[in-house]
Every structure is written in C-alpha cells, then in structure tokens.
C-alpha cells in the first residue's frame, strides 16, 4: 500500500468570525479520482483553493507528495512556508477554475505555453509542440491562434484544462468546471475529463454539482456539509444508499432540481 499523496490533518479555515473548515482531516491516494459534493458554502471549494495556495489555513497541516504545503523545515523545526517553498510545492498541483480564467490578451497557444516557458524554462519550440498535443487532445488544435474571446465557454474551459496539464502536475483540481457553461456545452468538457481520468494516473479532485458525472468519474465521493465530511464512500453507495440523513436530503433536492443521478 503506497502513501497518500495528500494528507490533510485537522485544518481550520476562518474568515473573520466565520469558521468555514473546522478541524477537517482527509487523505487522498495517488491516482485517486475524488468527487467532493455538498451544498454551497459547505467548504468543498475552499479545500481546493487551500490546496492551490489561493487561501491560507488558520490552523493544521497539509502534506502533499511527502512535503508540508504550508510549512517547511528550518533548523529542525517547522516554520511557515516562504514564497520559494510555495513555488516549489505549486509545481505538483494544477487547477481548473469555474470561470476558466484564461488570459484574454494571449492567443490559445500562448495561454498554454506561457507557464512552461516561464516557470520551467522550456524552449518555445518544445513548449509549442507539447501545447499542440494537449490542444489536440482537448479537440482544439485548430483554435491555437484564436483569442479566448472568440471561443465558446466549453472551448475556453477545454483550453484551460490543456493549460493546466501543460505543467504536468501530479494533482489536478477541478473547481465546478461546468457550472458557468450553457447546458449544451457541458458534455464536451466532461468528455475531455473522462478521457483524462481513463488515460492518466494523475490524482484528481473534483468539486461538482454534476452528480451523474461524479458517479461515473470518481473512485470515491465525499459529501460535505458545514465544513465537515458527513459521509464518504464509493459512488454507488453514496448515490444509491446514502446513510446520513443530510446526504439523503441533499441528493433529494438535487434530483428535484432536475439533475440526473
């Protein structure tokens, strides 16, 4: 049995007087596909943002791929991580955002090549070759020279996926990646992610309201409510036979709202 690639140990996240995560612990195994579900405000997106170092934690420890994320060893003791340590840790993690966050002043190809060239010193030719492979994988090789504003939402999100993959992270975080899309564009993004899950051994954490997709995609589903993991298990157990009342209520509401499970 290998070691967990992510080990979250009783982390606390507060915004002023509001406690979003209260002593949360969880582990993720290498290559695992994890779906985080739950009502909005339950803290699931916050976990992804903390892993991407977009938010800091108020207390606790996070270990990623053997190293502390927010701490580093200095003279034998653990001290808060500095910018250099965070820079090193971020290499392991990539993220795809709800609103794509493409760079609007750069063409699709430059969006994908920029970070490898700047952060890893990849020469332009090699970066472009790799970018074209990735764009081909997401079905957008013909859009390489387009500007983001010329793309549909689904296309933008596929570019954002290619952009994150270009840095070859060990862990990919998907934060409600289809929530901002028109319904008819959701499937093209999900099919890219399905392929990704099938063809790579990347660890993936997915925050989603697409219960059907979570069911097919995930090895394990975590149901969050009020900053705590209320229930976790295999997708078929969580979706077909939820044990906790809160999970049952949530899933009933989601189905009533027209989502397929």
């Amino acid at each position: 049995m290998s070691e967990p690639i992510i080990r979250i140990d009783s982390i606390v996240k507060r915004y002023g007087p509001l406690t979003v995560l209260d002593g949360l612990s969880m582990e993720v195994m290498p290559g695992e596909k994890l779906a985080l579900i739950g009502p909005s405000g339950s803290g699931k997106t916050t976990i992804l943002r903390i892993l991407m170092t977009l938010e800091t934690i108020s207390d606790g420890f996070i270990q990623v791929d053997g190293d502390q994320l927010y701490h580093m060893k200095k003279a034998g003791s653990l001290v808060p991580a500095d910018e250099r340590h965070l820079h090193k840790m971020r290499e392991k993690i990539g993220m795809v955002f709800q609103h794509f966050n493409l760079f609007p002043h750069k063409c699709v190809l430059d969006n994908v090549t920029l970070a490898p060239m700047l952060t890893k010193g990849v020469p332009r030719a090699a970066a472009e070759k790799r970018a074209m492979e990735l764009l081909d994988m997401v079905g957008l090789a013909d859009k390489a020279k387009s500007m983001p504003a010329q793309l549909s939402g689904g296309q933008k999100q596929r570019v954002a996926i290619a952009r994150a993959l270009a840095l070859s992270p060990k862990i990919m975080l998907f934060d409600e990646v289809t929530s901002a899309l028109d319904p008819e564009l959701v499937e093209e993004v999900l099919s890219v992610m399905r392929r990704l899950a099938a063809e790579t051994d990347m660890t993936m954490l997915l925050v989603t309201h697409e219960m059907g997709f979570a069911h097919d995609f995930a090895d394990r589903v975590l149901f969050f409510d009020r900053g705590k993991i209320v229930e976790e298990g295999r997708p078929e157990d969580i979706f077909r036979h939820p044990k906790q009342e809160r999970t049952q209520t949530f899933l009933r509401k989601i189905i009533a709202a027209g989502h397929r499970v």
């Binding site: 991407m52 977009l54 971020r90 920029l114 952060t119 504003a149």
Partner: protein, 219 residues
C-alpha cells in the same frame, strides 16, 4: 507697420522649448508614475509608504511652488539645475504623481481571477505583473495618460516664471515689444491647441495598438 516674421520666429523658438519640456516631462512622468503606482501595490509596507508620501505631496502642493523649490531652493542643497532641467523635473514629478494613481487603479482593476490563474500556473509575482497584469492594465491607463499629457503641456507655461523662454514667455516678449496682444496670443492659442490635438491623436493610435485582439473582452 510691424514686420511680424521675426516675432513669429521668436514664438516658434519658444514653441520648440514647450515641445521639449512636454516630451521630456512626459517621459519622466511615465517612469515615475509606474514606479510610484506599482510601489503603491507593493507587498512591502515601506515601499507603499514611500510611494504614498510622494504621491500625496506632489498632488497636494502647487506646481508653481514645486518649480520654485526645484529651481531656487535646491541650489542651497548643492544641486543647481538649468531652467530646462528644473522645468522637466518639476513637471515630471508633478504629473507623475497623478499618473501613479492611474497606474494603481488600472492594476487593481485586473481582477482576482487573473491573479489566481497566475498563482495556479506558478508564475512569480514579477512574471504575473509583467506578462499578465500590466499588458491588460495598460489599455485602461492610456485614456487618462492622454489627459495627463495634455495637462502637462499646458502646465509648461509656468516655466516662464523661472526665465525659461517657452512659448508663453516669448509671446509676452513680443507683446511688450510690439504693443500687440492679439497676434502673439492668438498664435500661441493655435499652437497649444495643435500640440494638444497631436497628443490626442497619438494616444488614440496607441490605444488602438495595445487593444488589438482584445475586442469584445472588456465592456
């Protein structure tokens, strides 16, 4: 009958001084505006404090007083400047303080989502600013920079007070020698207007250039 050609020549010589002041003053203002504007958003408290002090001081005192300080008071500290140097310095620092707030506002206007994408892609703060934030902030700055440049052009007239022979100074000379007010002042009115108009045209051209490919991105 007055022979106007010599007098108009005098005014044109002054116009050249005004052009020099405007170009050099604007160049200094741009450098200072970026330094102080980015200083305002620095993560270091001391840098922010320094930038804020500069901006508030130069916006809060009159260009007239600043010019006198630069030209008449700095020599007591051992720094003697030519009138042109003093004019460029005072105008550049004065307008740069306004420009700094423009830079800060435009940088702040580039939203959190772009910054977060930079972090997720592991860009350093410098790389994010250089490749992502500033290229998008620049189009937002240009219209106001155009205004500032025109303000600076018109502000150059104060240098006549430290005996720099700019366009306004020469017009007064011509008026004193010929007794005519209409012709010298009509001439410089037109010249100022043409210069301001050229600045407007130049800024519009620049704006078109830097926003190319960004159509439809911003409202």
């Amino acid at each position: 009958m007055i022979d106007w050609s010599g007098y108009i020549g005098l005014i044109l010589e002054g116009a050249w001084v005004t052009v020099q002041l405007t170009l050099m003053g604007s160049a200094l203002a741009v450098v200072v505006a970026f330094a102080a504007g980015l200083g305002r958003v620095s993560r270091f408290m001391a840098v922010r404090a320094l930038a804020t002090t500069y901006i508030e001081f130069f916006r809060g005192t009159s260009i007239f007083v600043q010019l006198f300080w630069v030209y008449f008071v700095l020599p007591f500290a051992g720094i003697t400047l030519t009138p042109l140097q003093a004019g460029v310095l005072a105008l550049g620092l004065n307008v740069g303080a306004y420009g700094a707030e423009v830079v800060r506002g435009a940088v702040k206007a580039i939203g959190r989502e772009q910054r977060e994408a930079c972090i997720a892609l592991n860009l350093s703060r410098f790389q994010a600013m250089r490749h992502i934030i500033l290229p998008q902030a620049l189009p937002l700055m240009l219209p106001t920079f155009g205004n500032n440049a025109i303000e600076l052009l018109k502000g150059t007239a104060v240098v006549s007070l430290i005996s720099l022979t700019d366009m306004t100074f020469q017009a007064q000379v011509v008026r004193a020698q010929t007794g005519s007010t209409l012709i010298p002042f009509a001439t410089i009115l037109v010249l100022y207007f043409v210069m301001a108009w050229l600045i407007s045209l130049g800024m519009r051209w620049l704006e078109r250039r830097v926003t190319r490919g960004l159509d439809g991105v911003r409202a």
